[in-house]
Subunit: 175 residues, 2 copies
């Protein structure tokens, strides 16, 4: 792990710092789930609404939709919604559908989405980051916020995965 | 909520953006816990290691120790460790000691620690943010990383509080 925030090489300055943060957070997400087997990925833990696997799929889906919004100024089309909708929404459908996969299924999806993010961000400059648009309800946002929110969402769900993974491993040790 | 990342007024540019993020995240933390009563703040939820109240105290303690490290280049002294140590460490002691307080106890502590953070950051410039030091084990870090980590830690525990608060409110509705 690198504990000096600095602009990742190959990017405009602030975008590069954002990339440092995105990659740093991802490293922590991969550490939090490293070694979880299929059963642990599907397990909800007592009273948890979502499995660790579903949360990993959700993290990838949130990054994907923020690509569409920020790079293409659009939401999911029907085909994309079919592919990503369950992971975005979580809840009952996700519990039923997003299970039975090994860790690599999730990490490969995370990596392939991330590759697009990095390629696109490389082509942008810092002034793009401050570009403002409005949601349909009139509320303003900028591109910086969208990518800050991708970070925020991943860290938040990683916190949930960590408390779950801690418990799953404890149970494992007691058995 | 403001969804355009921009430098908070009165700060150097990048520090101001960090302040925007710190304040934005805090707003979410206060929303996530708004309305929790004493019993809900003390409740662990099934299988959770820490109560929502203990996590709020932890968020304040993490910000406090990062003030000492970044602004004073030191760790807790004995008196401070006595005051903050349980919240920093969480776990069994926190479960026993950090309970029986209403929400205002936690939000007042969060606010008083935050006031010091903002006052100190106002006096710094962006080059301070990139200043590097080394941990006793030789690993380098910069001030930017320390404050990014304060953000990261709060968001992560807020994610745990959210999954717990969701459950506590569901239970409430079923009763």
């Amino acid at each position: 792990m690198d504990y000096t925030v600095k602009s990742a090489s190959g990017y405009d300055e602030k975008i590069g710092e954002l990339v440092f943060m995105l990659e740093h957070v991802r490293e922590g997400t991969l550490q939090a789930t490293s070694g979880l087997n299929l059963e642990q990925l599907d397990s909800m833990g007592h009273g948890m609404a979502n499995s660790a696997g579903a949360l990993l799929a959700h993290i990838a889906s949130i990054e994907k939709v923020h690509q569409l919004i920020s790079f293409e100024n659009r939401d999911f089309n029907d085909a994309e919604l079919k592919e990503w909708g369950t992971a975005i929404e979580l809840g009952a459908n996700a519990r039923e559908i997003i299970c039975g996969y090994p860790l690599a299924h999730y990490t490969e999806k995370l990596a392939s989405v991330r590759a697009v993010t990095l390629r696109e961000l490389k082509a942008k400059n810092d002034s793009w980051l401050y570009g403002e648009r409005r949601w349909p309800n009139g509320v303003a946002y900028n591109m910086y916020y969208l990518w800050f929110h991708v970070l925020e969402d991943e860290i938040s769900h990683r916190g949930q995965i960590r408390s779950m993974a801690g418990r799953l491993l404890e149970v494992e040790e007691r058995v």
